[in-house]
Amino acid sequence: MRTAGAGAAAVGLASRLPAATDAATEKKAVKAAETFPVHPVGPGRRKTMWPIRSELKSVRIKHDAPIDPVSWAYMKELRENNKTRMIYPVNPYVEVYQFRENLYGLFTHNLDGGGDVWMFLTVGPEKALLVDTAYGLGDIKGLCDQITGGKPLYVAVTHEHFDHAYGACRFDKVYCHENLKPYLELQNAHQWDYLFDDYGDNIWVQFDREDLPKFKKFEIDGVPDGYKFDLGGGYEVELIFQGGHSAGHAAYLDKKNRIVFTGDNIICDTSGCGSVNIAGRGPHGEEQLLSNYRKNLKRLVDRMGEYDYVYPAHFMVDVENYVMAKELECVDAVLANPDGWDYWDASWGKAATAPSGRYMKHIHGFSVVYYGYNKG
């Protein structure tokens, strides 16, 4: 919150002027100060990510990379005008949206500088399934219990990244694709430390540190591709292995609602679904190559008859299913000619000391695939 606006600057300047000898001189001096050309927010009020009205307990301080205007327009309409929005007292950090009779989107701030995130809660006849856990800020389990009326809950994550899996320790047991297990085992009591500076102040989002989880070990059930969660009465959700964004990235197909939860592999901001020739450094890192993601994406495209809508883990949801086919076209174009990008950015990874190139290729009608590519 910067306070050095035009008004403050003008007052400061006036107070440094020589003492006025008479009223007319004083008036002239104040006038001069008032017309001093200080721009309140710098030259050009170019708006990107202007604050969205919110009643969340957490307050955004800053983002790292700017979010695109499509995502922002979507979130503005959703968060300011959606009639299903609820904030439950049990967890004031989460906005709850009802997308289907039995499907809830749990929106929460990304506690670092990345894009804000979704958790999705599907309530079946006997059991419920939570896909992703965000950072675990606030009582997520209590919130799920309140929405489902205390039904038994499966918890699964699309991938291991901070903003999707750090809330896992709020639960006793978490499901994931088998490749992901060694990554989730690295979680520990200090994983949230980077959200605070050396003075203990919040860096990206203001919230009460006490509301983060107290870390405890949780059971990790790594399951194979095709594993089915039974929510009762024949209500099935299937894990479909994807790779790409992470070595163990999974999508979850809700066959009843005909919806697929695709995590971070397709997003209306930028879709980071692998690199041309830079494998991940962890176990099964080769699954982060675009050529491998392509095979798994193709499997999902071939099953488009089983879902109508795609639910990415950030921003825009309820995207028509053919977005996956458009992404496949885009990935194929990248693989055929990695130099055929539409634009590129210097990208700074967390704790990186030098930027790396991040190349962008347009997904027709949607956003971009961004990919790493080592030309050397």
């Binding site: 990107t48 695109d68 309409e77 005008n81 959606n82 028509e320 086919a325 009608g365 949607f366």
Partner: protein, 337 residues
């Protein structure tokens, strides 16, 4: 096989979508689903059961019309000023649009204006006594306004093609006063509430935006919109002032609009996604400059067939973080001589 499907959006509107000539893109349809199914301000008035009314701000209403000719649905924007109200674009005039506007504003005197002279933005003008339009689109709009203008919405058996509605709810054509105005024309809605017409060209020779100087909205018409920003169709035989329907004209005028970015916060296009941050104007300018520097370096090229049945080669250039600019080879530079 890829099929671009836009699954139906739940609505209580009397109009029912039958099909598209050019379907909306993914980002637009997803935003529309969000808006139309769950926006808490949505209202359908008895006086016009075809139009969904959304209140975006205290003094700004969006009147959502399903586009009768099969391209993405269109907006009529209604600014409720202190003494007068202003309607920007009038769609096809399906249903009693004047009665609807009067009911929302409580019968305030009305100013009607068009962003450009295409059917889906000005055929509804004849519901009103008078409308304003930029001088370069005046003749096109004038020529479009005739009793047979709506005939192409029906097949040879008289059946609706793209949207199902009751044909008798179309306007009975009557002549109205169409006033040609120049770039910079200002409309006063009472007190200091002023709306300025800003000429852009590009999409059509006289295509213009409207700047609400008081509320800081910019109504961007068809040239900045989330489905596709058709900006350089090029001169066509018989098109008045066709020398302005190109990207160079658009670049020159867009540069001036970007220089005035201090004057507006949010964009309200003529179709689809609305309430978009002004930064899109600046990124669009970057993309237009890139096309002019190298028109061959497009993002992709496709063939489309609008309601007139004439196939078009449409060249697309991606605007970072938004959508694509659509243009033709003839629409990049002004015609020679």
């Amino acid at each position: 096989m890829i099929t671009d499907v836009c699954r139906p959006i739940a609505t209580r509107s009397k109009a029912r979508r039958l099909g598209w000539s050019v379907p909306p893109n993914l980002i637009s349809w997803s935003w529309m689903k969000l808006l139309r199914e769950n926006n808490k301000t949505m209202r359908i008035y008895d006086v016009n059961p075809y139009v969904e009314v959304y209140q975006f701000y205290d003094n700004l209403y969006g009147l959502y019309n399903q586009n009768l000719d099969g391209v993405p649905d269109n907006w009529m924007w209604l600014i409720d000023g202190p003494e007068k109200a202003m309607v920007i674009d009038t769609a096809y005039g399906l249903g009693d649009s004047k009665g609807l506007v009067d009911q929302i504003t409580g019968g305030k005197p009305l100013i009607v204006a068009n962003t450009h002279g295409h059917f889906d933005h000005c055929l509804g003008n004849c519901r009103f006594a008078k409308a304003y339009i930029h001088e370069y689109d005046h003749d096109t709009a004038r020529a479009n306004a005739k009793p047979t203008a709506w005939d192409f919405l029906f097949d040879k058996n008289g059946k609706n093609i793209y949207v199902d509605f009751d044909r008798k709810d179309l306007p009975v054509f009557k002549d109205y006063e169409l006033v040609a105005v120049r770039n910079g024309a200002t409309f006063n809605l009472g007190g200091d509430h002023e709306i300025e017409l800003i000429w852009t060209g590009g999409h059509s020779p006289g295509h213009s935006m409207f700047l609400d100087k008081k509320s800081r909205y910019l109504f961007t018409g068809d040239i900045v919109a989330s489905h596709v920003m058709m900006a350089g169709t090029g001169p066509r035989p018989g098109l008045a002032y066709g020398q302005y329907a190109n990207l160079t004209t658009w670049r020159d005028n867009l540069s001036k609009l970007v220089a005035r970015i201090d004057e507006y916060d949010y964009l309200f296009p003529g179709h689809m996604m609305a309430n978009i941050e002004n930064s899109v104007m600046a990124t669009t300018l970057e993309a237009v400059e890139a096309i002019l520097a190298n028109p061959g370096n497009s993002t992709y090229i496709e063939e489309v067939t609008p309601a007139n049945g004439i196939k078009q080669k449409r060249i697309h250039k991606y605007v970072r973080g938004f959508t694509t600019i659509g243009y033709s080879e003839e629409g990049v530079y002004p015609p020679k001589g």
